[in-house]
Symmetry: C3
Amino acid sequence: MSTQQLQTPEQHQVSPDGCYTLGQFDSSVCQELADRATALKGGATPDAKPGKALGLLFLNPSLRTSASFQRAAARLKLELVNLNSQGVWAMESEEGAIMDGTKAEHMKDAAAVLGCFVDVLAIRAFPAGVDLEQDLKDPVLHGFAKHAGVPIVNMESTLWHPCQALADWATLDQHQVPKPAKLVLTWAWHPKPLPHAVPNSTLCMAAQRGMEVVVLHPAGYQLHPEIMAEAHVLAAANGGSARVSHNRAEALDGAAVVYAKSWGSLDTWGDAEAETAKRAPLGDWCVTSKQMPQGAKFMHCLPVRRNVVVSDEVIDGPRSLIIDQAENRLHAQTALLERILS
Amino acid sequence: MSTQQLQTPEQHQVSPDGCYTLGQFDSSVCQELADRATALKGGATPDAKPGKALGLLFLNPSLRTSASFQRAAARLKLELVNLNSQGVWAMESEEGAIMDGTKAEHMKDAAAVLGCFVDVLAIRAFPAGVDLEQDLKDPVLHGFAKHAGVPIVNMESTLWHPCQALADWATLDQHQVPKPAKLVLTWAWHPKPLPHAVPNSTLCMAAQRGMEVVVLHPAGYQLHPEIMAEAHVLAAANGGSARVSHNRAEALDGAAVVYAKSWGSLDTWGDAEAETAKRAPLGDWCVTSKQMPQGAKFMHCLPVRRNVVVSDEVIDGPRSLIIDQAENRLHAQTALLERILS
Amino acid sequence: MSTQQLQTPEQHQVSPDGCYTLGQFDSSVCQELADRATALKGGATPDAKPGKALGLLFLNPSLRTSASFQRAAARLKLELVNLNSQGVWAMESEEGAIMDGTKAEHMKDAAAVLGCFVDVLAIRAFPAGVDLEQDLKDPVLHGFAKHAGVPIVNMESTLWHPCQALADWATLDQHQVPKPAKLVLTWAWHPKPLPHAVPNSTLCMAAQRGMEVVVLHPAGYQLHPEIMAEAHVLAAANGGSARVSHNRAEALDGAAVVYAKSWGSLDTWGDAEAETAKRAPLGDWCVTSKQMPQGAKFMHCLPVRRNVVVSDEVIDGPRSLIIDQAENRLHAQTALLERILS
């Protein structure tokens, strides 16, 4: 699998503004967007786009993302088309499929139709979690990008959660975390195997911001090698670095930021029983105050399992940035939509 | 069953503007609405109605209809009340029912209440698909029309889908399909028995537009005789014709438009097993390029089962109008709401 | 359990405007809000708050409440963030919980995040109906009130439905029901045990309005003693009274208003089988025209089981106020939001 498979060329054909990953933007553009998010948080007036329309298509549940996109649309005076999975049937993504099963519509038709009704279309589509090769194609995101005819915003796909990453970039800036500082992305135990979108995007965001990134996880929980390769490219271009560690004490030593997140093993993708067995002995992978280095900030994208992924003491402590991260979703997305529609 | 049962007198008592079927409008009004839809598509400014409110009540899933009505509301600066089945309990429609079962509210109360909150109420209510006589009464649509006290827009009921029909009328005009041209509404195989709303409305729309309409289907898949009778009345008044054929070659010969749609048999309504057996040998009722007459346009309301109802080759070909049909939903509904609220 | 448990101090810490119960407002404020609702119904212009945002979080289904809050938001030009349970995961409410079960997010995090995105947050959270002590804490409402950092509006919680009560107060005024008149809140049979929010709020509203309130129910269906105590305090302060009766003829004699509502027994809370057995002999607790005193008005909050809770004859009769009550939801909520945001 090449990087091309993860970041297909279609994304660039549709629109230079469709935001699938931050990596597709120059670092200077990312920084401009983060700066604009910070300005909006500080009270700057959004550049309203009356008469333009934003579509939101949620194929999976959402609290923060739905709320922050609805509000961003309102702040920009956008006309809103809000659709969620409960109102929509299952969609086919395979080209040429003979659709005699349970899927009532091909996404190429849904995409082309929705593209008639709005000027920009934002989509949430989690992995099916059954077939890794299929999920690695990020089929819904790329299917919509190919066929919608309007810019696509990724509200979390199989592989990426760029709006969270942009909000996190702005959060790091607002808290004066230096660009060369050490950020540790640490795996945590969780009762279920979760998708890789947030860890992938966090890794690449921090690499692109020029940070010293350590991906800390137990053996068997590596991120995909193509994602790591992407991170190395981004780090090299921006003065940062990215490496893996399995040693919690070593990795966390001197960290300026501890970013906790659980994710499932690629080795047992789609096999819930094997995954459960594999992670059973890893319950102590919880971020507690004992692990937190002196002065380090704590980050998580939410929702979070308290006292499982992180202890109350840490997440409720003065160095926890979780609410700022969430609030910055609104400002980052407002900045992104401003840019796409201008 | 008389035509009265299909088009009850209530619809005219509530408001002359409530759109249950296109047939209730003079053909000249239909043409004005189609012309206005075309003008709006071409960039005409919608006649905004600030301060007026539109309610959307989806008792069934929707993608196109929900998106296009939300956008139409925004273009007209309407205040929107958006309700869907996931948020609403099951409703009773029987007058005088002793409500000690599972239904928590009578639609007469729901209708009267929603009518207090909005100026026009749009409803989607598919057939229950169990009892044909009950479904033929189109009970939810007429129950709301009787009790809401405001104009009702039909977003697809048991029997009719007039907004699709109006969008299709505008699409035919935009592609210069002559009024006397031959339109073949052809049945297609589908894994499930689908409602009759679209074929009924397509038939009556084309008859009212003055076209030569042929309803093509295998034996046992007739539309309801009262609907056919309504089509004959509309055709006679507008210089068109309507007839049935079971012969694909004969029917399709010389067609200017092939409109594909699957629907369930009235003979096996509510009996899934019998219906499945009945349609089992009919899998070749799929529109492929071999069946398409020279120069004929292809139409379908979407969502469509690709390579089951129609081959990719036809639906993705240059004479496929499906995306225009869908886009015209927005413009037709904007035109309709403008008229109802003016 | 003290009144403190029902009306925790948090509600006053967050904002003096958060409306958990009407009882937290002085009677003069309630009267001002009811008067404003009546003025808005009569055509007064809402005091728009452009740029302010309202969040709606429905953890349970809603028709009237969702419709009326959406419209109220539009009338006030509020930016709307609309979230429902279908889009949201199950939430933990226990402080310090080890979240390794099915609940994906703690409400303290959800509340803090949503509070970043809106200026006022309205919540619907019915009782879980399993553990009475837990439900009596009204955990979701108070959890959000404690952590959201913005005023909370109660769209029906375990214990209270103040927006319905305020609409009912305005309805009584509009129909010139004198403040000292007798209002009978009568229990009715229903196939399911329902929550106490509406009877609690109706009782306290009428007591606070200075009415002679009789709570009429069969033995074993008492409201919670703390709620009765609250009603006595409110009645005493406002020239009214509150008492219980098990005798339908005695209680209804001379009533100016019969307010029907079903609710479950506190004695069998969470035990569906015991509750069903307990209410089995009570099927004649239905309000029919025989029970209605001369000239008395009939009220119910809707949705209502017709011919189970009340006969069609009564609810469709000239003295039924149910549609006015529902319409006043819009005006009462508009008045409440105006006040909270001013």
